[in-house]
Structures are given as C-alpha cells and as structure tokens.
C-alpha cells in the first residue's frame, strides 16, 4: 500500500496526541512548552500533506506562518518563564496557583 494522505494524517494525529498528553501530564513548564511545539509540528504536517494532495502551495505558505508564530510564542513564553522563575523560584506549573487561592 503506497503512502497516501491517510498515513500523514494518522502520523499528525499521533503526534498531536503525544504533545497533548505532555501538556496535560507534565509539571515542568519547559517540557510543557516543548509539547506545544510538538503539537504545532503535527499541524504543519497536515498543512503540507493537504498541500501535496491538492497540488497547491498555499499550505506551504501557512506552514511558514506557523513557524513564525511558533518562534514568537517560544520567545515570549520563555521570557515569561524566566520572569516567573525570578519571582517564584520555580517553573513547576502546580506552584503557579496565585489566582486559585
């Protein structure tokens, strides 16, 4: 059986699952960030696969947009993380519960 769209969609779904499990399970916010990057990668693969299916490069353009947004998200998110660490001496997401108390 040749590799078709379904294979790539299944790969992306599995990657998204792994990333989502990471966001939900892990407590270290650095690893939570990495899991978000995995989920963005899964979305990129779907864009590229449909682009290949339709023979239209618009999907590639939007993968570029996702790259840019991911870079912005990582820069801002990690800066916030450094600031939180400076104030709270922790990057454990369970410790960041000021609004709950």
């Amino acid at each position: 059986m040749t590799v078709g769209l379904t294979h790539y969609l299944a790969l992306a779904a599995a990657l998204f699952l792994v990333g989502m499990a990471g966001v939900l399970i892990r407590r270290n916010s650095l690893i939570v960030f990495m899991s978000i990057e995995i989920m963005l990668s899964a979305a990129n693969i779907v864009f590229a696969a449909y682009s290949r299916l339709h023979g239209d490069l618009a999907g590639h353009v939007f993968v570029l947009m996702v790259f840019a947004v991911a870079a912005a998200e990582a820069a801002i998110g990690l800066a916030i993380l450094v600031e939180i660490h400076r104030r709270r001496r922790s990057v454990n997401v369970d410790d960041l519960n000021t609004l709950m108390e």
């Binding site: 040749t2 590799v3 078709g4 379904t6 790539y8 299944a10 790969l11 992306a12 779904a13 599995a14 990657l15 998204f16 699952l17 792994v18 990333g19 499990a21 990471g22 939900l24 399970i25 407590r27 270290n28 650095l30 690893i31 990495m34 899991s35 990057e37 995995i38 990668s41 990129n44 693969i45 590229a48 696969a49 682009s51 290949r52 299916l53 023979g55 239209d56 490069l57 618009a58 590639h60 353009v61 993968v63 570029l64 790259f67 840019a68 991911a70 870079a71 912005a72 990582a74 820069a75 801002i76 990690l78 800066a79 450094v82 600031e83 400076r86 922790s90 990057v91 454990n92 369970d94």
Partner: protein, 167 residues
Amino acid sequence: METFLFYLCGGLMLGAAAMTVASRSAVAAAVWLVFSFVCAAGVFALLAAPFLAILQILIYAGAIMVLFLFVIMMLQGPVLPAEVAGRTVGRKALLALPAAAIAVILISWAARGREASFGATPVTGTAAAVAELLLNRYLLAFELISIVLLVAIVGAMSLGRNEEGQP
C-alpha cells in the same frame, strides 16, 4: 522506497516526541525534541516540500531549540528536581484521557476518508515557488506576520530585562 522512508522518518519522529514528553530532565527532552524536528524535516522532504524541510531545521532545530537550551541553562539548577513525584499513575491516566479521546476522534476521522492517494507528479515547494505565492497572493499575511515577530522581539526584550537590584 517512499513507504520505507515514511515509516522511518515518521516512526523516529513519533518516538522522539514520546521520549521528549517522557524525559525526566529538561535537557534530555530538548535533545530528543531536536531529533524529532530533524525527522520532521525528512517528512517535509517526502511531501515534496524541500524549502520547508530546510526551514524546519534552520528555525526549529536551530533557533528555537537554542533558545530553549539557553533558558534551561539559566534555570537548570532549580528546574531539574522540580518535577515532583506527587502525581499518582491513576491521576496521570485521568489527565491523559481527554488526549486519548481526541486522538481516537482524529485518527478515526483520518482513516474514514476514501483512499486519498497523492497525484503522481507533485508540485514541488521550492523556495522560488513558495516565495512567488508569499510575495503576491499572501503579501498581507506576510507583512502581518512580520509585525507579530516585531512585537515578539519587543515583548521578549521588555520581559527579559533585568531590573536593578535583582540577580
């Protein structure tokens, strides 16, 4: 051949992503993530997207992961033991349940469609072809994304600035 390469790149990518999520230390997770992104570049190359494959390595495996490793290095001492053992296996399983449900929905949806095989002659996403679209039809999006990046730069600088009197 293509089938073999797909299973090789896809399998390695998935395995490396799983190792990222499962790693105890943040440094190990970052290294696995770099590996996963390199495999993602392989998947892009299989999808006739050589430009994206190169950008994936330059931006993700290069720039973004260097940023991650720098932050890990800055925080390393206190971060590594911070992964508390407070969560029981049952609690973890409960948290993973919604992820599993969504995965089942996504995979069944992916498998439901007709056998959508790709056309014989792919439209190759070379730098020239993608730039043609990016600078004509999607020029507005291109300009807007540059504003997003500018705001990100300013925001990261103002957040990361070291105020006086602090270590």
